[in-house]
Amino acid sequence: MSSLVKAVVYGAASLALYALLFVYADQTVEFARRTREGEKIWFLVPIVIAFAFSLVHGAFTGSFWEAIGLRPVDKKRSK
């Protein structure tokens, strides 16, 4: 998969994640409130979200810079 295609695919996925976060923003605040009130299991919510965003958005930002020509020097040499 070329870096441009990758950037578009992961970019769309990343955008979707942020859209979901925006739509369900109030729910995340609610989960934090319930954690404070003793339902400790909800502490997992921000951690799972953080992992998901780091994988998808991280892949997007990586391929984004590659697509616009920002590449590491060693990688280029080995190609």
Partner: protein
Amino acid sequence: MEAVTFIHIEAASVLQLFLVGLVGGMVSGFIGSGGAFVLTPAMMTMGVPGIVAVASNICHKFPKALVGALKRHEYGQVDWKLGLAMGAFAELGMFAGKQVMTGIRRAYGDVGTSLYVSAVFVVVLAIVGVFVLRDAWRLYRAERAGEDVHTHRVTRFARWVQSVHIPGTMMHFRSLGASVSVLFIAPLGFATGMLAATIAVGGFIGVPAMIYLLGAPALMASATELVIAFVMGLGGTVFYALDGAVDIRLAMIILAGSLFGIQIGAIGTTYVKDHAVKLVMGLIMVIVLFSRLFYLPGYLSQMGRIDPLGADLLAWLTWLGDGTLVLALAVGGLAILWALVRGMAEHRQQHEELAAVDGVED
């Protein structure tokens, strides 16, 4: 205990956090840490309570560090074993650091902790910052004079550390090319964690410690610091998330920018030599050190050590202190961009010359 409340987020704040995250990410990708100390005050200026700002900052830190570590792993710069070993002790150090802060707050109040944090800033940054900067300058001059600076030089202390053999505690580390006793790793990791709990940037101890006390090359040390930051960040996030203090909306907004930044920082390291990492790190440390000077009169007047200062003057001094922190990041960010742009141009030129000789196009 301060109340945990989540603020209403405005578009302007989103943009501000995105930008600070972007530059902070660049610096982290390059020197292994940094950026955190600007994000927490930035959030607090927006009205986020201190504990939520700290919690949300740390929740953006672990995914950022993970992405950065994976990226620099691709370039063969990460020593996972060293990072995880240091990280485990850093976790303990972070916990101890928090206890110390809580103890000081109980005894002397908030102004006591502020003064303690400033003192740690000044002492650590003055000693380590000047040392790192001096070393970078020495390398730079040697390079200009045409000396061989490509081979990484291990300090005398690090050679001694590598020569000590304590049965049952030895671990081999790829970045050092040697075995080192865990008894040396433990205090360094612990100090890194304590510093992270105090000034939010443990790398200011971790990276120089790996370079000068253990003997790791600067590029590998800054990459490995990302693993330590990941371990500490994950532990810290769990800790704060259990209290319901993490505002995931804020954390993910900062992450949006910082993941763009961390890729630039990581790519930047492939174009530079060891001294550039030291130079950027030393520069940031020294500028941050000066930022503290602007906060000191305020703390002293609050404690009644000097005559009370006017509200206007206090606001100005705080603004100058915050401004200097932003300056430190901006200088770091620009230095990284400059190194990247210059490196890419040089590389392209070499590439074109080669292509001209071979008579082939890439």
